[in-house]
């Protein structure tokens, strides 16, 4: 560890220093707007430092962290998503009666944790990052601490996340016992080496337990049971955070970990992952059909989306990781957008979460209704949106590896998915008698964020080529 090693670590250090700075400022002067601005500056600084600190070297820092192009890309994605959530949170928290400054500290810590996960090259750093993320989330989910539903969601998440973390650690221990290493790349090489020594029963058991822990965070079937309750109970911007940043960091990790491994050659593990993917697509979509609560609906739909993602992950090869990464970006844009609309219409006291809350939205607030419709159509994979290009890429990756069964399930369940997205769209466009009073103005930061996300949604849907090129160069 030398001084030069600190340069690639710059973004992470900024992310770590900002919450401390915010904490100190709060001790001196408690102000919502100052805190929010400081948080924004910290995240923006971390983002800007990413290209500045890039170097052709591997970026391996000690044994624990690796800040290479891939990690920088994912950190950038996570930080940008965190930034959007902070912007959305500002308007949301303004009417909050309690103190809302600590929220930003927790949010910064959660971003830091997720950034550490995607930059980790060792089980220890992975676990550290995961715990920083989880512990911040426990508090964030229950942030509206006077609401029973929020507390319930926080506790549920706490119990289940702790259990799954235990599985994860046990899995790591088993793998270490069998292979004698905790480094991700070395573990991956040992597993994928032809003689079966790397694939003994102990290693397989360890990998499966690792999958339990990761699957919990990704909320794939059968580790999804917490999702609808937590999505519903958490404040809307926190839900957006869980749906994007928390899941995205784990997706980055599995790509890094399994990157050198030919997943298809792992036999039973491949089968397990395929079953998880297919089950997530089927259950996520079918259960979403039954929901009248938009947050729960999006929770089940996010389960399905992670299932879609796994199809391309299973495909591997040259196309798989690129498809996963592209779809993840698409998923970030549309999920943040969808929860963003919910956020700007909600407050800590009452969330606009029933489908009925959106009835006639387009006629009352055309821009907001239009943005929500665009997000939902993108989630459904309709052209002109990034969701279409993303889904197309997933299907292409799946077909390239001849994963016919998962791909056909993907296509058919997407059809089911259409139905519930359309239910919301129908409500948005329902004709209603003119409301007497014009609706209140939207929070500025939230409105701008949504506008930016919508533009990105269409832009990437029409001209995905530069981003695709960028992703290909990184992976």
């Amino acid at each position: 560890m030398s001084l030069a090693d600190l340069i690639p670590l710059m973004p992470l250090m900024i992310l770590a220093a900002t919450p401390i700075a915010v904490m100190l400022v709060i001790a001196v002067y408690r102000s919502h707007s100052v805190t929010a601005v400081l948080t924004g500056i910290g995240l923006a600084g971390a983002f800007i430092s990413l290209p500045l600190t890039s170097s052709p070297e591997t970026g391996q820092v000690a044994m624990l962290l690796i800040v290479d192009g891939f990690a920088r890309f994912y950190i950038g994605l996570l930080v940008a998503a965190g930034f959007a959530v902070v912007l959305l949170s500002y308007g949301y928290l303004r009417p909050y009666e309690g103190q809302c400054e600590e929220y930003y500290i927790l949010m910064l810590l959660a971003v830091l944790g997720s950034a550490v996960i995607v930059a980790s090259s060792h089980f220890a750093s992975f676990f550290l990052g995961l715990e920083i993320l989880s512990i911040s989330l426990y508090a964030l989910i229950a942030y509206s601490r006077l609401k029973a539903i929020g507390i319930e969601a926080g506790l549920k998440y706490l119990v289940l996340a702790a259990t799954s973390a235990a599985f994860l650690v046990f899995g790591m221990a088993l793998i270490y016992a069998a292979l004698g290493t905790m480094e991700l790349t070395r573990t991956a090489t040992l597993i994928s080496r032809p003689p079966a020594e790397g694939r003994s029963l102990i290693v397989m058991a360890g990998l499966i337990m690792l999958l339990v822990g990761i699957g919990f965070k990704l909320a794939v079937v059968p580790f999804h049971l917490w999702t609808p309750d937590v999505y519903q109970g958490a404040p809307a911007p926190v839900t957006a955070f869980i749906a994007t940043v928390s899941k995205g960091s784990l997706v980055g990790l599995i790509i890094r970990f399994f990157g050198p491994v030919d997943v298809a050659a792992l036999g039973s593990l491949f089968a397990v992952l395929a079953v998880i993917a297919v089950a997530s697509m089927i259950f996520g979509n079918i259960l979403a059909l039954l929901q009248n609560n938009v947050k729960r609906l999006l929770a089940y739909s996010s389960i399905a989306h992670l299932g879609y993602l796994l199809v391309a992950f299973l495909a591997g090869g040259s196309m798989g990781p690129a498809a996963v990464t592209f779809y993840l970006i698409a998923y970030f844009v549309m999920t943040l957008g969808a929860f963003g609309v919910i956020t700007v219409l909600s407050g800590p006291q009452r969330e606009a979460e029933q489908i009925d809350d959106y009835r006639g939205l387009f006629w009352r607030r055309p821009w907001l209704g239009g943005a929500f419709t665009a997000m939902l159509l993108s989630l459904a994979g309709i052209p002109l949106t990034v969701g279409f290009i993303g889904k197309f890429y997933l299907v292409a990756a799946g077909v390239s590896a001849s994963l016919w069964l998962p791909v056909v399930v993907l296509v058919l369940t997407s059809g089911i998915g259409l139905f519930y997205y359309l239910r919301v769209v129908v409500a948005i466009f329902a004709r209603q008698p003119q409301a007497a009073a014009p609706p209140a103005a939207l929070p500025l930061a939230g409105g701008l964020t949504l506008a930016g996300l919508t533009v990105m949604l269409v832009w990437l849907g029409l001209l995905p080529s530069p981003l695709l090129e960028f992703i290909r160069n990184i992976i």
């Binding site: 159509l377 002109l384 279409f388 890429y393 299907v395 077909v399 390239s400 056909v408 296509v411 259409l418």
Partner: protein
């Protein structure tokens, strides 16, 4: 460049109509009408400018083409091209679009700007479908026309509009996804064969693959097109969507959206998978005849005037399916003409039904009767289009259906005989419709205003078009023959290679209708006895 303008003009006009419609609804109407007029002129200019270039070049008889790089990483290009077939359909799109704007003029009174935005984007999508020569781009447009259509039905439709709109969307979207799967499958089969991963139509033509693969991929395409067409077991979305849509929506659905299915069969299914299409032909012909007869039967049993017209579409589009699977030059000419004539005549019938509904606020034929004395001009026009629909000689639909029947007769006599029954049943339901609506006693004492000047102008244009297609269809044949010829060669080239040389057939270029006189009887390429 004209090809790009054909898509850009309606797209931009849609946005403009939406923005301006918030200030004054009248503006969005005029903007849409003018934009479609521009499209009509552009397409006509393209047609006349290159009228003497209608020769078959090695790449095909393309009149205009543009190929831009779009997503090179995936082998996707922005590739538009027009041959005679595409161009005729683009003309139809602009023409029917204008009549749809005319029919929406007074009927759509809420959210006018947003309505014209959707209308123009549907038309832009349809135009794109007819011009795209990259399968990814084709799918892109295919889906692009869907969402605005969904909104047109769901927002401005009649009583049961949400049900109809969702049903329409699910049917077309799920079948479209299966087509997407087939497109991607074809992309990889071609890529693995040649190392070139591309969605370009011309390069994908003649991709070598096993019979089973070809069959599965063809079924993927086929299901999307048969849903759109619609063919009988997949038609159930149509009566609901057509009935519940507002009049301009019904005109676009019946006149244009169904035609994209027919176009897809002509352009993609048979040329890309000639062997598989040949193997499927008997089934396709059975489906077609089922559609012709079942559609006619259901049309006859309706009491809802709009639903009746909707079911006649099922019957008429059965002829199109029949002609495609017969796949000889005469039948194909009939198919193209049927696409045009059915688009115009059914569009006109929907406009007439819309006018009646606007006046009486009902579509129930049991409450009608005797309208002829109340609205004599409207009744006369309705009679004209009913006669066109039943295939009266002198009107366009007669020429097209008779061409398809002649073409079918060469391949399968039973199929031709059964399909002819469809013509007879068309006579029954068309005359019955006129009888029940306009004749008899005026039970409810209707006193209604007759056709207005605007309505009369729209009807006049459509009557003129049908008469022209019925009396002098030669210009259409001249325009589309090279394109159809090329499609046929593309498909048969592969077949000839796979069949014994004794059966190899040289197709003589036909000259319009001369074939009907029996001067040059090019035998069918496909074996006799298509019907099992």
């Amino acid at each position: 460049m004209i090809l790009i303008w054909l898509i850009v003009v309606p797209t931009a006009a849609g946005l403009l109509a939406w923005l301006m419609g918030r200030r004054h609804p009248g503006w969005s109407r005029w903007i849409s009408l003018i934009a479609l007029g521009i499209n009509l002129i552009l397409a006509l200019a393209l047609l006349t400018q290159s009228a003497d270039q209608l020769t078959i070049t090695p790449g095909g008889p393309w009149l205009a083409e543009i190929n831009l790089s779009w997503i090179p990483q995936l082998g996707v290009s922005f590739h538009l091209a027009a041959d005679g077939l595409s161009l005729v359909l683009v003309l139809l799109t602009a023409f029917l679009g204008m009549t749809a704007v005319g029919s929406a003029w007074t009927e759509i009174s809420e959210q006018v700007g947003f309505f014209y935005f959707n209308l123009m984007w549907v038309l832009a999508g349809i135009t794109g479908v007819f011009l795209a020569l990259d399968l990814f781009l084709f799918y892109f447009f295919w889906e692009m026309m869907l969402v605005p259509m969904y909104f047109i039905i769901a927002v401005w439709g009649h009583e049961n509009r949400i049900y109809a709109a969702v049903k329409f969307f699910l049917f077309t979207q799920i079948s479209g996804l299966l087509m997407l799967l087939a497109i991607v499958g074809l992309y990889f089969v071609h890529g693995q064969n040649t190392g070139v991963y591309t969605f370009d139509y011309r390069q994908l033509l003649g991709t070598a693959m096993s019979q089973t693969t070809a069959m599965w991929l063809m079924l993927g395409f086929l299901v999307a097109f048969l849903v759109k067409l619609p063919a009988v077991p997949l038609h159930t979305w149509l009566p609901d969507a057509h009935t519940e849509a507002p009049t301009p929506g019904s005109v676009i659905l019946a006149g244009l959206l169904l035609k994209t299915g027919a176009y897809g069969l002509l352009r993609f299914v048979v040329p890309l998978f000639p062997q598989a299409a040949l193997a499927f032909a008997p089934v396709g012909m059975v489906l077609a005849i089922l559609g012709i007869l079942y559609g006619a039967l259901l049309a006859f049993s309706q009491t809802d005037l709009k639903r009746l017209v909707a079911y006649t579409s099922v019957s008429h589009m059965g002829f199109v399916l029949l002609g495609v699977f017969v796949w000889n030059e005469m039948a194909l000419q009939g198919v193209v003409l049927q696409i045009l004539c059915h688009g115009i005549s059914t569009g006109a019938l929907f406009i007439l039904v819309g006018s009646i509904q606007e006046r009486t606020h009902t579509r129930d034929m049991r409450r009608m009767g005797g309208l002829g004395s109340a609205v004599p001009r409207l009744a006369g026009v309705a009679m004209f289009f009913a006669l066109a629909s039943l295939g009266l000689p002198g009107l366009g639909n007669f020429v097209s259906e008779i061409l398809i029947l002649f073409g079918t007769y060469r391949v399968s006599v039973p199929a031709a005989v059964l399909a002819t029954l469809g013509l007879i049943s068309a006579t029954i339901y068309a005359l019955w419709m006129i009888q029940a609506t306009f004749h008899g006693p005026n039970k409810e004492g209707w006193k209604l205003p007759d056709l207005s000047g605007r309505e009369a102008a729209v009807m006049g244009a459509m009557i003129a078009a049908i008469l022209w297609l019925g009396l002098y269809p030669q210009p259409v044949f001249n325009t589309t023959t090279p394109a159809l010829h090329h499609l046929e060669q593309t498909a048969t080239g592969k077949q000839l290679a796979a069949r014994p040389p004794s059966q190899a057939i040289v197709l003589s270029k036909i000259d319009g209708l001369s074939e009907i006189d029996g001067h040059s009887s090019a035998p069918s390429v496909w074996p006799k006895g298509g019907i099992p």
